[in-house]
């Protein structure tokens, strides 16, 4: 089969075709000093010509020398905000003279499409699928929003210094199913998107686009663009061997490293909010002043709050040391027992968006080093 490419100026046609198919399209845009996700109406909404520089506790937008549409790494938002809503009403109840009525809140069906989903993010969605749709704790809201999701994935050609998907085997090459898959190539001579479909729905969209047959040179350039991302991560400081993480963390439940991290950790929960797989939520029940109306809301919660582990008699994890240990051990070790995979996709958001730059890859090395006699 021949490979196809879409010239950069025809990205607009792709956006239009998806929206014309009834999808709410979300993708990258510039927002207040970062590249976040939001609703996309036209190609001019995209952060063309922008990139980012990331380190522990620091994120800065930068101008690129070229006009790349997807020349940035992952930002503060993740796609989970559209699938596992940050806040949502679950039910409302009223009690009028002993007549108790409970009204379940079911939102109208929605067709979501995500533009620019990186391989690490496809893995993130797949992990949340296992949590919310395939296990014992299904979340109907998530499953409904996920059902008709259309993804336009992106072979990753820009990694931040905080990225470590190579270590977690989650990128930069797109290996998981996606409706469409793009590879952006931009240089002084050319600007195009290599495009392929991965589903009948994707194929139907692809057929509407003014694509051209990609040349051997086009293909070579596309492969090189992703290869250099892989090379950057492979030679970066955050590259590490993750094959023994589960055993390592199980062995180090009482490591002194946890005390060291707790001295720095603010238990502010930013890592868990930014993480594309962290799925904890709580329900808030409240009544009105009259006591005749009640509501239950679901909202994101975090293992960095004492409330999350509050059982009869008090919180199981009241202090920062046990909260950080729980987060990291769950993410990298106990997740395997619970969901048969790691809970980490190597996107680096927890490193960048930690206000004090705590680095999960560095803590792995610290625990490993501490173990050695």
């Amino acid at each position: 089969m021949e490979s196809l490419k879409l010239r950069a100026e025809h990205l607009e046609v792709l956006i239009h075709a998806i929206r014309a198919d009834g999808y709410q399209l979300y993708g990258p845009l510039l927002d207040n000093g970062a590249i976040t996700y939001g609703e996309i109406g036209t190609a001019s909404d995209l952060p063309q010509g922008w990139t980012d520089e990331q380190e522990g506790g620091q994120y800065r937008l930068k101008r690129r020398a070229d006009k790349a549409y997807f020349g940035y790494a992952v930002g503060p938002h993740s796609w989970k905000q559209y699938l596992q809503l940050p806040r949502r009403p679950v039910w409302k109840a009223s009690n009028s003279g002993g007549d108790l009525q409970i009204l379940e809140i079911e939102e109208a069906p929605v067709k979501l499409a995500f533009l620019g989903v990186r391989s690490c993010e496809l893995h993130g969605i797949a992990i949340q699928d296992r949590v919310f749709s395939q296990g014992n704790y299904s979340n109907e809201s998530y499953t409904r929003r996920r059902a008709e999701l259309f993804t336009i994935a992106l072979e990753c050609t820009t990694a931040a210094d905080t990225c470590f998907c190579m270590s977690m085997n989650t990128g930069p090459y797109v290996r998981l199913p996606s409706d469409l898959i793009l590879t952006e190539v931009v240089n002084s001579d050319t600007h195009f998107l290599l495009i392929r479909s991965g589903s009948p729905e994707g194929e139907a969209i692809l057929k509407q686009l003014p694509t051209e047959i990609a040349t051997k040179t086009d293909l070579k350039q596309a492969i090189e663009a992703v290869d250099q991302t892989a090379q950057k991560m492979r030679s970066g400081p955050r590259n590490f061997d993750s094959s023994d993480l589960k055993e390592l963390l199980y062995r180090n439940y009482d490591s002194p490293i946890w005390d060291k991290v707790a001295e720095r950790c603010l238990s502010c929960a930013n890592c868990t909010m930014a993480c594309p797989t962290c799925f904890c939520s709580t329900v808030e029940d409240s009544t009105d002043l009259t006591g005749t109306k009640a509501e239950r809301w679901e909202r994101w919660d975090s293992c960095f709050t004492a409330d999350l582990s509050h059982l009869s008699g008090g919180p199981v994890r009241a202090d920062t040391r046990t909260q950080y240990r729980q987060w990291m051990t769950h993410k990298l070790a106990t997740w395997y027992d619970q969901f048969d995979s790691s809970g980490c996709v190597g996107c680096g958001r927890c490193i960048t968006w930690c206000p004090v730059g705590i680095d999960i890859t560095e803590e792995v090395q610290n625990i490993r080093a501490q173990e050695k006699p």
Binding site: R60, P86, M273, T287, V356
Partner: protein, 272 residues
């Protein structure tokens, strides 16, 4: 459906509410009057028996719920709060003054006599205590609602909770969680703006970061507030001067232990 036997007001007159003022600016009590949409509903559920800010008509105690605003700064106040406690079934302290001493607790870090000498022609007439202290330093407090001023929705939530004998939905976590729920870009990480959000108690809905400025901790410390680590990063990575760090710790809640300890350490030159 079985009716709830625990309800405060099921078999007698409406529960009586009292609102007390100590040393404060009145902003927190005004939050109650500011509950425009809920005020009539509130008046239907509670007998507003003592609330001088709203009415000079007062009813005798005892009271079912007392809201206490302000800190204790005079010998007379120190006596009066004991009387308020005796008359109150439930005592809820509201606001930064009542829960952590308020701005006036800056006196605790200085010489109060120097202040009275500088301000008053006859300082000998001034009967004031050396320190401004929170209500909990004097009497048992059933619930503390933090904030400068408090959030009116949280106030209604707390009153509703006590009326219907359920736990108040007032989360002890950071402002950061509220920011992230709103989808805000972090002003600290993305702009380099010093922000107290990571150590500050939620409740405001992350107002300041939503308008691109750093949180200045008017809600006081959250649970497990690691001010030492935050201040270290401010100094080393955001290049904030020690004086400004101390000011941020002492803005509104200077006596909250997590803020007090760090600010005193920094004032003594023990900066890290």
């Amino acid at each position: 459906m079985v009716s709830d036997q625990r309800s405060l007001a099921s078999d007698r007159a409406l529960p009586k509410l009292a609102v007390w003022k100590f040393t404060s600016c009145d902003g927190c009590q005004l939050s109650l009057l500011d509950c425009e949409d809920e005020l009539l509903l509130l008046a239907g559920q509670l007998d507003i028996a003592y609330f001088l800010e709203a009415s000079s008509q007062v009813k005798e105690g005892p009271y079912d719920i007392s809201l206490v605003e302000g800190s204790i700064t005079t010998p007379a106040d120190a006596q009066r709060i004991l009387d308020v406690r005796r008359q109150s079934q439930v005592l809820i302290s509201i606001g930064a003054c009542a829960t952590a001493g308020g701005i006036q607790a800056l006196r605790n870090f200085a010489d109060i006599q120097a202040f009275t000498r500088a301000v008053y022609a006859h300082p000998e007439y001034i009967a004031t205590l050396k320190e401004s202290t929170p209500i909990s330093a004097h009497v048992t407090v059933d619930f503390e609602l933090q904030g400068c001023p408090i959030n009116k929705h949280q106030l209604i939530e707390v009153i509703s909770a006590f009326l219907h004998q359920r736990p108040p939905q007032v989360a002890n976590h950071s402002v950061c969680i509220e920011c992230k729920l709103r989808g805000n870009v972090c002003v600290w990480v993305a702009h380099g703006t010093p922000c107290m959000g990571p150590v500050t108690h939620a409740g405001c809905g992350a107002i300041c970061p939503s308008y691109n400025r750093g949180c200045y901790a008017c809600y006081g410390p959250k649970e497990n507030s690691n001010t030492g680590s935050l201040c270290h990063w401010w100094a080393e990575n955001l290049h904030v001067e020690n004086t400004l760090i101390i000011e941020n710790l002492r803005n509104f809640n200077p006596l909250a232990p997590a803020f007090k300890q760090e600010s005193e350490g920094r004032a003594d030159g023990d900066s890290d």
